[in-house]
Symmetry: C2
Subunit: 208 residues, 2 copies
Amino acid sequence: MDGKIQTLGYALLGLLARESASGYDLLRQMQAPVGYFWQAQHSQIYPELARLEAAGLITHERVEQQERPAKKVYSITEAGYAALQSWVTRNVGLPAKRDELTLRAYSLWLADPVQAIALFREHARSHHALRSIYEAKLERMQQEWGTALYQINHPQFGCFLALRRGIGSEREYAEWCDWVADMLEGATADRLADDEPAGERREATSGG
Amino acid sequence: MDGKIQTLGYALLGLLARESASGYDLLRQMQAPVGYFWQAQHSQIYPELARLEAAGLITHERVEQQERPAKKVYSITEAGYAALQSWVTRNVGLPAKRDELTLRAYSLWLADPVQAIALFREHARSHHALRSIYEAKLERMQQEWGTALYQINHPQFGCFLALRRGIGSEREYAEWCDWVADMLEGATADRLADDEPAGERREATSGG
DNA sequence: CCATTCATGTAATCGGTTACATGATTCT
DNA sequence: AGAATCATGTAACCGATTACATGAATGG
């Protein structure tokens, strides 16, 4: 009665396949770099580790430390490797996308343009910033590993792929945010120039 | 103090701000077009409508039909408009990204390249297909509305922004999938070429 | 002294999916 | 007769977040 392994379990296996680690270590790694595309709190990680161990995919060893509390260091087993390998290329459907900012954009015709411009510029900045972090990380990796980054059977290849995805998606998102803000700015500038009040915004604004 | 309005509630308000509708109508609209960036089943929609009504943001009217079961047609209230408007430009943090395919890519160094290529080509196809659907929808909208699409206080402007986001993100995702598959193919070709000295060595170059 | 880091757990809650449940009407 | 669409609800479950809980050691 192991309780089926879920996505978080494979995320943890993916980390332990690179290096043995404690629950606390894994928590740190689930913030960065894995946290860029999958997140988990410690309250989810510790029970999941117990489940993975019950399923025989990992084992642990108690390690005493002089100046720190003792810790459980988990290692992946042969069965764990096998489970991870078969999961990686298993068929999976398209992820259901949930994006609150796009949902807001859908109702943006109701909003105050000035506030909307501020919101979208701010998000553009955030996504640009995240992209910069990813790019810096990739550059450091390229300096450290060079062409070894392209060796498809080495762990750093996985990091490389994920970072590329992060850079691309953040760039795309930032560009869209800026494009939205540009459109709003253009339209409000038009209105000032034209001196022509565009159509009323239904009851919500016509009521005043 | 009834249950606070959550994101789904604003999604429904965003639809009702365009047109009054029954729960069933809203369910259809939560599949497309809103389902491209926010999903919900009827089991979530009906209770949420009750909550919105209890909060005074919508009202309903029973409508009898000759050849169909009777339905409740919901309409947005003044308070609903106000709530929606204030939500649209309210500050919101970056969404926590959860992408299982990227998570798998992180462990792709362990996988069989042939299976991995198949997986990523398949996802590339799916994202290309979705992008085509969005592009066709946008074209139809452009034919129907023309430059009215750029009027920032009309409902179709919201559709336009969301479709643009869909097209961009699906293009980016598809390109990344193809780039991953290209890299894997290049690397496996390299390995074959090593056995046949006449073979051409393909360099793994960064895409995008 | 108090905040932070290291280190590990459980409990309560919540948003969302899946399953259960009912019933009318139309089309094949 | 049976499937599909229209139409509306509740209940069970599950993954994930937030809160509760403990305790040692370091640094300011």
